[in-house]
């Protein structure tokens, strides 16, 4: 687990953001995103200030900008959806160059893009600075139901194994001259999925038996519980507190 395996966003480092306990970071992230979503989209300066805050935090993480930028692509499908808004929304229209666009749609598109992008950036900062095993510990610390925590922990643990299996099947297909060009090749690809399911399921059964033989009784043993000092909370909560300050300043200005 951890750095170098490349199966999650995590980017190994020792910045102050990396060192914060994961449950503190996750709480901070949720609070901050809630504030962003609750901000009215007409409060344009607030969004500028949020971006500045997040960029400042991102600078602290020592994660390269290029790696953050590359990962922003997860947002693309919804950027397309947002950009359609000015064309399809209801209400009065305004002239923008050669186009007649709906005013509400323009505001809508701006709001979707601003809030969506801030959400992705904030989540990326969390994902790049938190090790998968700490994410699982954070979920447990934040009292999510045990089965959910355990399923998530198995997910992280076997992600690399199962995607490795998928990769090997791809190599096997490629070395037999297979090329996925059109729908005609779907049968082979779906066969891969079938084989992957059978292998995953059987692995699940083997893992379960191995766990039972080592005394598993419904709870996973964690070697180290997450702990946070008041200082950790203080440092982390600066971000949402600053967010609330910005929101208040813009709303009452």
């Amino acid at each position: 687990m951890g750095a170098g395996h490349g199966h999650s966003l995590h980017f190994h480092g020792h910045s102050p953001i990396h060192r914060l306990p994961a449950h503190v970071k996750l709480t901070t992230l949720v609070l901050f995103v809630l504030i962003v979503v609750a901000t009215p989209r007409t409060a344009v300066p607030a969004f500028g200030a949020y971006v500045a805050l997040l960029l400042a935090v991102a600078a602290f993480t020592t994660v390269p900008w290029t790696s953050l930028a590359r990962r922003m692509v997860v947002e693309v499908p919804f950027v397309v959806f947002a950009l359609l808004m000015p064309f399809v929304a209801e209400g009065p229209r305004v002239r923008v160059g050669p186009l007649h666009l709906a005013e509400a749609g323009l505001w809508g598109a701006w709001g979707l893009l601003a809030k969506g992008t801030l959400g992705v950036l904030a989540s990326l900062i969390f994902g790049t600075t938190t090790e998968p095993r700490d994410i699982v510990r954070a979920l447990e610390k934040l009292r999510l139901p045990q089965p959910i925590v355990q399923i998530a922990s198995f997910m992280f643990r076997y992600l690399e194994v199962v995607t490795g299996e998928l990769r090997r099947m791809k190599i096997a297909r490629d070395s037999r001259g297979f090329q996925a060009r059109s729908i005609r090749q779907w049968r082979v690809l779906a066969g891969t999925l079938g084989a992957l399911f059978i292998r995953s399921y059987e692995r699940g059964e083997r893992v379960h038996l191995a766990m039972l033989s080592r005394g598993y009784a419904g709870r996973l043993p964690f070697a180290r519980q997450l702990t946070a000092t008041w200082g950790d909370w203080g440092r982390a909560l600066t971000l949402p507190v600053a967010g609330i300050g910005i929101l208040a300043a813009v709303m009452f200005a």
Binding site: L26, R71, V207
Partner: protein, 230 residues
């Protein structure tokens, strides 16, 4: 199809989060019945399978490709409760570790894909199984039927949510037609992949397919017979 932050108003997001929490709560109880104490490792590996399956690209033509959503497939393979749980955890992990899908929209995404996607898919699968002859060959056809309907159902739910509590005023009818129209096509792709994948699994390990449990021969279990005493 992961809804990001800010697409729906805060109230709508809270409402879908409540729906998702209740749904996942029920799934937690139900999954225990489907998988007994093997829940954690098996559901975990099935969750990884769904996650990995979404990484496999299916060429559509003209250089584009699509991937499986997997709600109906998971429901047919491991049962609807376990599938709900697996897809919810996949969405949770995608949101917090891969920044895919907004954290405040997690409730919405779980409602759309883990509740509507899985249960419409499974419900329609059951309906098709009841109509089709009781044979192994019917299982992939029924699964494809479920998959074909589950995708537009999730899209229609999103359109209705967006109409009720979206961040932009759009004519509900227009959005609904566009979303459902487009997702009927995606649903056909989903149906084809689900049909082929379930077909491949039923052909080799029908015992692993939850939706084909009733087709198992009665004498499948090993039995101890009295030895012939000479």
């Amino acid at each position: 199809m992961h809804v990001p932050d800010g697409f729906l108003t805060a109230q709508t997001s809270l409402a879908t989060a409540a729906v998702a929490a209740v749904g996942v709560g029920i799934a937690l109880r139900g999954a225990r019945r489907e998988l007994d104490d093997r829940t954690a490792p098996l559901a975990g590996l099935v969750a990884v399978f769904v996650f990995a399956a979404q990484m496999l690209n299916f060429p559509v033509g003209a250089g584009t490709s699509g991937h499986l959503l997997g709600g109906a497939l998971a429901a047919v393979l491991v049962g609807p409760f376990t599938a709900t749980l697996c897809i919810s955890v996949v969405l949770l992990v995608q949101a917090i570790a891969f920044a895919d899908g907004g954290l405040t929209a997690l409730g919405t995404n779980v409602t759309l894909m883990a509740l509507v996607g899985v249960w419409v898919g499974y419900g329609m699968f059951r309906v098709a199984r009841a109509v089709l002859p009781k044979r192994t060959a019917s299982v992939p056809i029924a699964a494809a039927f479920g998959a074909a309907l589950s995708v537009p159902a999730a899209a229609a739910t999103f359109a209705l949510l967006f109409a009720a509590g979206g961040a932009v005023p759009i004519a509900t009818g227009k959005l609904l037609t566009a979303m459902v129209g487009w997702h009927v096509l995606i649903g056909l792709g989903e149906a084809a992949i689900t049909f082929l994948a379930v077909g491949a699994i039923v052909a080799t390990r029908p015992d692993l397919v939850y939706g084909a449990q009733d087709l198992r021969p009665d004498h499948a279990d090993l039995e101890i017979r009295d030895g012939v005493v000479v």
